[in-house]
Each structure stands twice: as C-alpha cells, then as structure tokens.
C-alpha cells in the first residue's frame, strides 16, 4: 500500500511537470519560431519604437522571453516540489 502511494504520488507529480513543460515550450516556440520567423512579415507591419515588430522579436524580444520563461519554470517547479514534499 505504501509503495503504491509513493508510485501514484510520483506519477501525479510527473504529469503536472509535463503540463508545465508543454505550456512553457509552446510559448518558447511562439516567440522565436512564430513571431521571429514564420509570422515575421506580418508582424513587421507593426512597430515598436524604431523596430519593426517581427525583427524585434528575432533579435531582442525572443531572448528576453527565454530568460523570463526559465525563471517562471524555476518558480513553478519549486512550488510543485513543495506540494509533493520533494523539496529539500
């Protein structure tokens, strides 16, 4: 019984972890491959100060978002570890 609980806990933790990964990697994909590459022409119609928006995402914006994404991941995972008692 104890073994089972431990296993269930581990697999529940893993599922939540995967959910976070899918969410964060979707954003990762959208800002770089999406805004910076695939939809860049369309976004270039808009401007951010002196930047065309697509160009800004490719050379500046995507990098800022990458940094923020990792710190959000750190925060989410620390909370998740606590919830399941895996923090130390």
């Amino acid at each position: 019984m104890f073994m089972n609980n431990k296993k269930e806990k581990a697999s529940a933790y893993w599922k939540e972890n995967i959910r976070y990964l899918i969410l964060l990697l979707t954003i990762w994909f959208l800002v770089s491959f999406g805004a910076g590459i695939l939809f860049r022409e369309a976004l270039n119609e808009f401007r951010l100060g002196g930047f065309k928006l697509g160009f800004w995402f490719a050379q500046q914006g995507s990098i800022y978002v990458f940094v923020i994404l990792i710190f959000i991941y750190v925060k989410l995972m620390n909370k998740l570890d606590k919830k399941y008692g895996y923090d130390e």
């Binding site: 590459i37 050379q59 750190v74 570890d81 923090d87």
Partner: protein
Amino acid sequence: MSVQVWTWILVGVTFTLYFGIAIWARAGSTKEFYVAGGGVSPLANGMATAADWMSAASFISMAGIISFAGYDGSVYLMGWTGGYVLLALLLAPYLRKFGKFTVPDFIGDRYYSNTARTVAIVCALIVSFTYVAGQMRGVGIVFSQFLQVDITLGVIIGMAVVLVFAFLGGMKGITYTQVAQYCVLIFAFMVPAFFISMQMTGNPIPQFGMGGKVEGGTFLLDKLDTLHTQLGFNEYTSGTKSTWDVFAITLALMAGTAGLPHVIVRFFTVPKVKDARKSAGYALLLIAILYTTAPAIAVFSRTNLIETVSNKEYKTIPEWFRNWENTGLIAWSDKNKDGKIQYVAGSALSGKKPVFTEKRGVNGERLISNANNAANELYVDRDIMVLANPEIANLPNWVIALVAAGGLAAALSTAAGLLLVISTSISHDLIKKQLKPDISEKGELLAARIAILVAIIIAGVFGIYPPGFVAAVVALAFGLAAASFFPAIVLGIFDKRMNKEGAIAGMVVGISLMLFYMIKYKTGLIGVMDPRPMSEWWFGTSPEGFGTFAMLVNVIISIIVSRVTPAPPKNVQEIVESIRIPSGAGEATSH
C-alpha cells in the same frame, strides 16, 4: 598612455588574477577535478557557464557576422539562447538528479551498454575537438593583433595559460577562473557599447539605442535600411535566407546547444536539482546581456562603417581605416580611378581574401592583385567590427585595450571548459569505466592531467596550423550534437520504453547522416570530391540547418527500433523513475 601600454597593463592584471584563482582552487580529488566537488553556488555556476559558453566567436565575430547578415544573423541570436530553455526544462534537472560526472556516463548507464557509452565518447570527442581548435586560433589572433606578437607565439602563450589553470584545478580551478573571466568579458563588451550608443542615439542603453532615433529625427534602423537599399544591398531588417532554412538553422543551433557536453557537464557541479534549474536561468540571463547587445553593436557599426567610407576620398579617411588595411583585414582597390571609396553590394575580389602586392597606389593605398570588375571597391573582414568599433567611434585608449582583455577572457574560458570535457572523456569514460576499472583515485587524477596536457598540445597544433576544414566544421559541431546527443538524452528521460537498441541506432544513423551531408555539401572530401552546390540541397536545407533534419531522423528511428526490441530491464526503468523526482539527488559520484 598608448593603446599598447594599456593593453599590456590590462592583460597583465587580468592574467595575474586568473593565476591567483587557479592556485587557490587546486583540485585534490577526482570529484573536485571533474565536477568541482559538486558544491558550486547556482550564481557562480551560472557565471561560469556563461563564460564557458561565450567563446571568442561570440565575443569577436558574432556582432560582425550579424552586422553583415542583418536579419539572417537572428539564427545565432535565437539559436544560441533558446537552447538554454531546452536545457533548463528538458535536461539539466534530470541529469543533475542522475548524479554522475559526464554525458557518456548517463548514456552508458541509461542504455545499460558499453557500446552506447563508446558511441557517446566518440561523439563528445568529435564535437569538442572541432570546437576547441577554433578557440586556440582565436587566442592567437587576439594576442597577435593587440600585443604585436605573431600568431604562433600567441597560441603558445594561450596554451600555457590554459594549461596552468586546467591542469592544476580541473573543474574547480576552471569554474572559479571562469567566474572572473565572465566579469572581465562582459565589462569589456558593454563599455564600448554604452559609449557608441550614447554617441549615435543619445541613449546609453544599446538595446534601446538600437530602436532609437539618430540626429535628424529618423529611426536608426530605418536609416540603415535606406542606406542599404541605396547601395544595392538587401534591406538590413529583411535578410536573404529562405524562411525554412532560417527555421532549420535556428532549431539545429538550439538543440545543439542543449546537447553540447561542455555545457551539460556544468550542471553536475551544483549541489541540488533545484540549483540546476536556477543555475540555467542565471546562465541565460548573463548570456542574454551580451546576446541582446551584439545586434545593437551590429547596427551601430554597420551604419558607422557605411557613413565613414561610402563615397569618401581615401586621402581624408580616418586613421583606423589605414591601420586595419595594414593588417590586411581591409582592402580597397580604386577601380574607377576617382580616389573615392565605392562601397556597394557584391564582392570586390575574385577569391575570398585580398592578395596584397608590396606596392602602394597613387592614393597611398595597398594594392591588391585579385580585384574583380564589379562596382564594389571595398573588402572588409567581418571580424574587425567588434575589434575596430572603439577606434571607429574614437573612444579612449583604455577602452580599446579592454576589448583585447575581454576577447582573451572569452577565448581562454571556453578552451579550458572544452579541454576538461576531452580529458574527462578519456580518463573517466574510457580508462576508468572501460579499460581499467580498478584504477586508483590518484591514478585516475594523473590520467586526467596527462589527457589534458595531450589535448592542449593537439588543440595548439590545430591553432597554429589550422586545417581549412576546422573553420567550416565549428559551426557544424552544433548539428552533430543535435543529431546525436540531444535526442538520446531527452528520450532517455521522457520515454521510459526507450532501450539500448533504439538509442544506439538513432545516434549512429543521426550522426552519420549529419557527417555525410556535411562532407557532401560543405567540406568536400579532400582529394576525392569538392562540396556540391546549394542547388542540390535537400529541401533547400543548408548544412548548418541539416542538424534539424538529422535529429528528426534520429528520433523516428529510435522510437521505431525501440518498439520492436525488448523493453529495458527493470533496474533501468527504476533509474528513469528516480531521475524524474527531484529529491534525494545526493552528490555527483562515479559509482
């Protein structure tokens, strides 16, 4: 004081600092030698990772490449930073929990097979050696440029310096010197950027200055686009590569970054899984400072260059132009005999580099023998954009000297990190794990130090006599890592059913396919065939972007093969379950 004196002072002070740290952080055990004892704080590890990561290429060449490539240069910016998101989310925490010293360790244990371990060792050596040769060359170039010694002596000095801190300190010595090197290199990169941004746009922050207005009220980027169009270049913000190729190159660089052994191994040095995640965040933050500044420098220096030289008389050109002409990195040929520099789209030369005759022309320029008939009269080497920037902008001498110290810090820190991976592959993965498992700790440490010595000598020889293929292959090291390690590690963590048959088949096919494409379309086979033209590329994919394709093939083959062969044994499935849970990581061990 002259630039020369300043350079000697700054290089002297920073090198004394590195030596001091190396002696203070000597390694006494294999654990200290391989993973710095596993007790490095996340911030210190982040700084060391950033210095390890940012090579002479990032420091010296990247802004220059972007400056000439415009939008196309984005592949490097996104590719070399976005990889850290993959590293932080998909690899670092799990590999830290696994708790061994090296990437081949993980592959060997997870796929319960010495064949898999050997394949991983071979991949690690191929990737690391191609990479380190370029670094030693970079060290030589910086020394020769700023200290007025020849490249060979420059490379030898660089070898001696790396030897001291890598040999004595192993990972521990390297980590703490890299912390110092990060500080030096980022300071050296940012100071000229602040000055130039202030001069050109009135805003000292280069990231904002890039989108700011120049004198006269037009936006800097619009002005540059206009200049480009007038001179017949493509618009700076548009680029020339196909969307698919940009996509493929970016993805290959990202996956390659996350799969590079010298980057991954850094995450074994922190105490806990939690620290590995945070450390990846710090590393990317510290890298992003340089990577968001580089495109700004690219725009500033591109605009400056065009404005300073285009249609100007050679006789009135500023001093720096002639200085770099004397080093052979700038060449001008007055094809229409008007005494003015015409800088327009197209190559000015037949062949890649200018061939100088010993004579001077009527304007005092160095004559070249391989000028072609195109309208463009000017050749500019991309590498000078960062190095010449402070001179072009008339900055004080100490700033120019600072760039030299920064370039050296960048090249040395990366070379040291790579050499450690090479020596670990040999002393730990090969000797300890395969050939002589009963070797004593002292013996293993000695083997590691001998391996580092040999690796430095080989890398130095590559640096002094660079074979033509090295430069071409460095960029492709990422494709190789993406096609081999990245899928094997990610599948090893996220797919419990993945077995040795699948992983080995995937890695072998992935890296072979990548090597084949590289040889066929990029390097050629010496004496047998020349590289094939780009019109024959598969789906219009450049060799740099082919890593993406090879990686997909690797994944598909791994999954198919693993599903038709037996599942991995129970104890291996338990390893996978245990690395998915962060607690109880313990210390990195060899057992």
